[in-house]
């Protein structure tokens, strides 16, 4: 479900970075409040565990294929939502930089789609309410499966929304959603069962490691006011910035001109304007990106290709010269 940079418009990426930053800032604050110095190393090693464990292929019975565990839900069930969210950010950053899984610009989207839903929704809206009356094997299975299915569905829907707002693909939103949701329903079910199997094992071996285990000191209830504040900020940023990317209407200046003149562009007459126009036309190397006096597509294409070749030659030549002189000066120094 990792989004690539090419699928995200800069405005959408910025909006999602802002949303993820709000959630990360709140998580950092909550982790600091816990005043548990041990938590940071544990988060680091657990992040590495999730990354490594996702390399294990778990056989899906009757299908011949395999799946892997759901990192967000597992981390939040072990570390809690805030520390789990921060650990997931580290995992996603490493996946993006080292394995090209996702992109640097799309990181904000991926944090939101996978870490936010997996940790905040999974832990606070599913895991904690289910475990309120005590942790049992059946509750772990139920919460894990429900959490993975729900959070993956939300993440997949967000991917479709972000792609729609970015406007990079002609695939209709309804068709994209119709493809994404059922696939992630199946993935969520399998990942939920694998995550449940691991958590049940942990519960039997070391029950005190689980979030909301009996005797665990909670550092404070999740405030609905804070939730609303985070969601309101996210909605404001998303609405404000995404609308810039989605709008195809004229901008403010064009709209004003259109209201005044009936056209989006102004035309002017007079000797000064005519002289300026003739200078612009004379100095334009490729008017309308074609040969002078010609309107063929060949001219445009050849211009582009020749230009590209020339720029590459200059670039390669400059770099080779640079390397040549660098080595020369290195020998002289030696």
């Amino acid at each position: 479900m990792h989004m690539a940079d090419a699928l995200v418009a800069p405005a959408v990426a910025a909006a999602m970075y802002a949303c993820s930053a709000v959630a990360a800032g709140y998580s950092v604050k909550r982790v600091r409040l816990e005043e548990d110095a041990k938590k940071i190393p544990v988060m680091g090693v657990m992040g590495a565990f999730v990354f490594a464990a996702q390399m294990i292929n778990f056989t899906i019975p009757g299908t011949g294929s395999s799946g892997h565990l759901c990192g967000g839900m597992l981390l939040s069930a072990l570390l809690g939502p805030y520390a789990g969210f921060l650990a997931m950010i580290g995992v996603l950053l490493i996946q993006c930089l080292l394995f090209a899984d996702g992109g640097l610009l799309a990181l904000g989207c991926n944090i939101w789609n996978m870490a936010f839903y997996g940790c905040f929704v999974g832990a606070l809206l599913i895991w904690r309410p289910v475990m309120r009356k005590g942790i049992t094997r059946a509750r772990i299975v139920g919460a894990s499966v429900a959490g993975c299915v729900l959070t993956l569905q939300m993440g997949a829907f967000s991917v479709a929304l972000e792609t729609l707002a970015s406007g990079v693909t002609e695939l209709p939103f309804e068709a994209f959603v119709a493809v994404m949701q059922p696939i992630h329903l199946a993935i969520g079910l399998v990942e939920g069962l694998i995550t449940a199997a691991v958590l049940v094992f942990v519960h039997e071996a070391r029950p005190e490691l689980l979030f909301c285990a009996a005797g665990e000191r909670e550092t404070g209830r999740f405030s609905y006011r804070n939730t609303l504040a985070v969601l309101a900020a996210a909605a404001a940023v998303t609405g404000g910035l995404l609308s810039l990317a989605a709008s195809s209407l004229p901008d403010g200046l064009e709209w004003s001109i259109e209201r005044l003149t009936g056209s989006e562009e102004l035309t002017a007459s007079g000797s000064v304007y005519e002289t300026a126009e003739s200078v612009r036309t004379a100095t334009a190397l490729l008017p309308d990106y074609a040969f002078r006096g010609s309107e063929t597509a060949l001219g445009t294409t050849v211009s582009g290709l020749v230009g590209g070749l020339a720029v590459v030659c200059v670039c390669v030549g400059a770099c080779l010269l640079f390397r040549f002189f660098k080595r020369g000066s290195g020998h002289e120094q030696g």
Partner: protein, 266 residues
């Protein structure tokens, strides 16, 4: 070699590349990080039919590959992960975008142009990320992130995760190899041992985390300033390098440089 061992080897390879003494490696990590983000933002902001405009952005990867003496083949091997997704999203464009764009007096399928642009954006942005991590160590990157005032908890956590990934990947590699030798005809881990297989690894990881924490305490860790030593001051050469490339990105983004250069020769 299984997946986990392959991933561990890839991390080690990138770490070795980043530690070489090349000129690009010596550029300040903050400058390289901001340049990478700026480059990707410029690349993805191109209009969907502007293939020639986008092509001009190949200058940065070409120059960095040459100056950093990096293998282009290794970089393109990484494309196999992300390119299928971009291709799937782009392949629908020729079918669904039936509009035609006029180039001179010839009409060209707009869907094909937008598909090519999308694929180009995917390739260029991926190469830029690769160039960043192949010329910058994780510690240096953390120093750069700290200069951007990112929370210490996030940076320390990233660095620890990065350091322990190799250890755990090697452990997973040994476990999966041992399992595969005992169950040679089985694809993946059987559902009966899903829990114990990953659960054992998880419990060992938790114990390892405690040992790591104790070792860090003995070395003076107090929860803060874990990566401060990696911060180095910016010098004029770094700023000039960054300013040069940013100016070039702006030039290629806002002017049809390839078409203008081509026009000189024709």
């Amino acid at each position: 070699m299984n997946r986990a061992e392959g991933a561990a080897r890839e991390i080690s390879r990138l770490d070795m590349l980043a530690r070489r003494d090349q000129r690009v490696n010596r550029i300040h990590p903050l400058v390289k990080f901001l340049l990478t983000v700026g480059y990707i933002a410029a690349v993805v902001s191109f209009p969907k039919y502007d293939v020639f405009g986008l092509l001009g952005m190949m200058v940065y990867p070409i120059a960095t590959f040459l100056l950093g003496e990096l293998s282009v083949r290794d970089a393109f091997r990484r494309l196999r992960v992300v390119l299928p997704l971009v291709c799937v999203a782009g392949l629908f464009n020729p079918l669904l975008d039936q509009n035609r764009v006029r180039l001179g007096d010839v009409w060209i399928s707009a869907g094909v142009l937008s598909m090519l642009t999308l694929m180009g954006k995917g390739v260029f942005s991926l190469l830029a990320s690769y160039l960043l991590i192949a010329t910058t160590t994780a510690e240096a990157l953390c120093g750069a992130l700290s200069m951007l005032r990112l929370p210490e908890a996030v940076i320390t956590q990233f660095l620890l995760t990065f350091r322990y990934i190799t250890v755990l990947l090697e452990e997973v590699g040994r476990m999966t190899q041992a399992y595969a030798l005992r169950a040679p005809r089985q694809k993946g881990v059987h559902r009966k041992v899903w829990g114990p297989f990953a659960g054992q690894l998880l419990l060992r990881s938790m114990d390892r985390a405690n040992e790591v924490y104790e070792s860090m305490l003995l070395r003076g860790f107090s929860g803060k300033r874990f990566y401060q030593r990696q911060r180095t001051p910016l010098c004029g050469r770094d700023l000039a390098y960054g300013a040069f490339w940013l100016a070039l990105f702006a030039l290629f983004r806002f002017f049809p440089v390839l078409l203008l250069v081509g026009g000189i020769f024709l």
